[in-house]
Symmetry: C2
Subunit: 433 residues, 2 copies
């Protein structure tokens, strides 16, 4: 069925941690990969910014001319450089010429996936990006393919290893945020400039990709409400512990149904308190885990290493085998599915639940006064816990679900009450009834 | 690109819990499915044994003639009847005629997947079976596709909900096996004839399928060492608890490397003690979870509902969309990959670790005598715990890894020692260093 001289020529853009691992596996697993694909994979070239910095690579493969390599006689472009420009132009050009693309570039996909998907569709090429979210965890393929006959209602996960490492460490040691970040940088768990991680940009890109796939709706990073972990204090961690909870930075993508039956998509990244018994609570350190809820399938969870050279390379190679097979056999992978085109819900209108921990005056009538503020904003209280502490008392409130804007307004107003000495901790809660 | 009048005609064999759910979703999600596939899916017929028992189904769709339905003008056969014959003949006939097959029939696949895969390959048809293992959990697609560029070393999981329910309940209540099985039957968690579940046949079929995919080697149910849970006693559960462990029935598929570098495959199903902190320990009731270890990807875990009409139907529909898309676009899914053809390792030669709990005479020299038996069989002891109890003492031993046959022989010989009053519990351990 397959001509014996057929080879699939692969252009590799980037030779960092992941790229080097991909090149190594292409070589080491050559026989295995050829058996899977039905034809040998041939590394046609490796584009790097500074060839002189890679003296160990075969001279005939290395080039600084990524555009030229993409334009040459290759079948598949594997992009592991990252960033938007100039990568966007190279990949568009590849797709327009009918070459398939495998990329781990979450920032690019979260901004420009519509444009890339349209180019791929127009030319009948494949665009695969399993490695862009949750590293080695096979997550996008299940969302795009295994659950293709189901209706996904929610995707919620720990998708950034750096912030999960920091929050796990704060929980374990009781140390504050700044101190723990310093330690994480020293140990190599945080980048020299940790902004993309700690401010939630990385997780927001991933949330956009997940929401797009789960809800067949184009969701970009700009549609994702984003709060990082810089505001998480040691007091928040303590407040969570007291209630048998822990703090995680979650990407949450939900299908929200209005009272009138209309549907919209909420995508957000923010710190959350979850019960210690929750499956996501046990995901520590640099691991990732993603919970998926679907009408027929029910609850699913996917767990594994979210970053690192070898794990990410594993996901890239899985994609590479798929697109190469499609070229050999003449098939095509799943196309962009954006037909639902649901509206994006603003954060203010998204239903959430708050945990609020207050230091209040220790006298009668305080709870009544606080509760009145909730009532005014039409926010229902699920649980209250009060404790005396000399002249002040501690008041912990967990709300029922209400629009986030109403919850924020409630907290604002409560913080201005005379009887409230301090708002010790405010955080959203998930994963409990 | 797609002719507008193209339809994919689907034959549904079986209308039980899963079949009815598939039929319902085909109808309810028709528009969605057509968008994913690129052409409408049309239910061409439903084969049931006794059409008169299904008065609610449209008359023009129902037939007792499954062979005739398979032979008629259909593109895809979805088989949800189960059992080997006559289903095997129908599916072979379908594949030979180039029709794609989606099946949840683990028993059939565990015996005859080679024959079915060869027929599919010869005719260029697809054979998909995600629902055959771990119900709704997208597990086979990741193994076959996402990890296609990686080297899997181990697959270990809870793949039978009935036995997991019974073991979870025994752990929670302290009740014995027979009593808990009765209760499970009363609550509908165990079948009237629970043999296939409690004796491990169901899990062994799944282990055969998982091992075949993970190691590119044909593994049948007969190759899988199988022990059920009928021998798990309340004493075993107590012994596990004392050591901070819990008992699970696991399917374990391993790539074993000999001293001389040769590789073989071990596939087995038996009760195991695992630490309570292990991710699989927290999987309770009817849930399934599967751990996968691969060279590049590292550790992965997949969790979700392993059975039930809707969850299983979700997996069937995911497969149906894939094979229907392949027909519309002219591609093909992954073929059987059996090129590694590794030898199967016998259980006796498979390295395992034992937990052994003994009641022994309370006098000096007993441990020395017991330890001597281990030494004779070349089995190394990892940990010993001794406790006095009046005239007898309790001795708990956990071994290092050794060939299972040597471990069994050790236990046999120890049980015959005069100083050993009773072998209270013997069980393999997994998941710890």
């Amino acid at each position: 069925m397959i001509a014996n001289d057929r080879r699939i020529r692969v252009a590799l853009l980037g030779h960092g941690t992941v790229g080097a691992e991909v090149a190594r596996l292409l070589d080491e697993q050559a026989g295995e990969l050829a058996a899977r694909v039905g034809a040998p994979l041939e590394l046609a070239g490796i584009a790097v910014r500074r060839p002189d910095k890679h003296p160990d690579l075969p001279r005939h493969l290395v080039t600084a001319d990524a555009a030229g390599l993409v334009d040459s006689d290759v079948d598949v472009v594997v992009e592991l450089i990252g960033g938007i420009e100039p990568v966007r132009g190279w990949l568009l050009s590849a797709l327009q010429k009918g070459k398939s693309v495998v990329t781990a570039n979450k920032a690019l996909l979260a901004e420009h996936s519509a444009e890339l998907a349209e180019a791929a569709d127009a030319a009948g090429a494949d665009l695969y990006f399993e490695a862009a979210v949750a590293g080695a965890i096979p997550l996008l393929r299940p969302l795009r393919e295994s659950l293709a006959g189901d209706r996904i209602t929610r995707v919620m996960g720990i998708v950034n290893g750096t912030t999960n490492y920091i929050l796990s460490a704060m929980d374990a040691t009781g140390a504050g945020y700044a101190e723990t970040l310093d330690e994480a940088s020293r140990l190599g768990y945080a980048e020299a400039d940790p902004t993309a991680d700690v401010d939630g940009y990385d997780a927001a890109s991933k949330a956009a990709i997940l929401a797009s796939l789960a809800f067949h709706t184009r969701v970009t990073a700009a549609d994702v409400h984003r709060e990082g972990i810089a505001g998480v204090s040691a007091s928040d961690i303590v407040a969570a512990k007291v209630l048998g909870r822990t703090v995680k930075l979650l990407a949450i993508c939900e299908r929200v149904t209005d009272a009138d039956g209309g549907e919209s998509v909420s995508a957000r990244v923010h710190p959350v308190m979850i019960p210690r018994g929750h499956q996501l609570a046990g995901v520590n350190g640099a691991f990732n885990a993603v919970y998926v809820e679907a009408d027929a399938a029910g609850e699913l969870m996917f767990y594994g290493q979210g970053a690192g050279g070898a794990p990410t390379a594993s996901a890239v190679l899985g994609d590479l085998v798929a697109v190469a097979r499609n070229r050999v056999l003449g098939g095509r992978g799943p196309r962009e599915s954006a037909h639902a085109a649901l509206p994006i819900r603003s954060m203010g209108q998204t239903p959430t639940r708050y945990h609020i921990s207050l230091d209040v005056a220790d006298r009668a009538g305080v709870l009544a006064q606080v509760a009145q503020v909730f009532a005014v904003h039409d926010v229902s209280i699920a649980a209250v816990r009060q404790r005396d502490r000399h002249s002040t008392a501690s008041l912990v409130i967990v709300t029922h679900s209400a629009p986030d804007a109403a919850l924020r307004a409630t907290v604002d107003e409560i913080s201005r009450l005379d009887v409230v000495h301090e708002v010790v901790s405010v955080m959203r809660v998930e994963g409990e009834d």
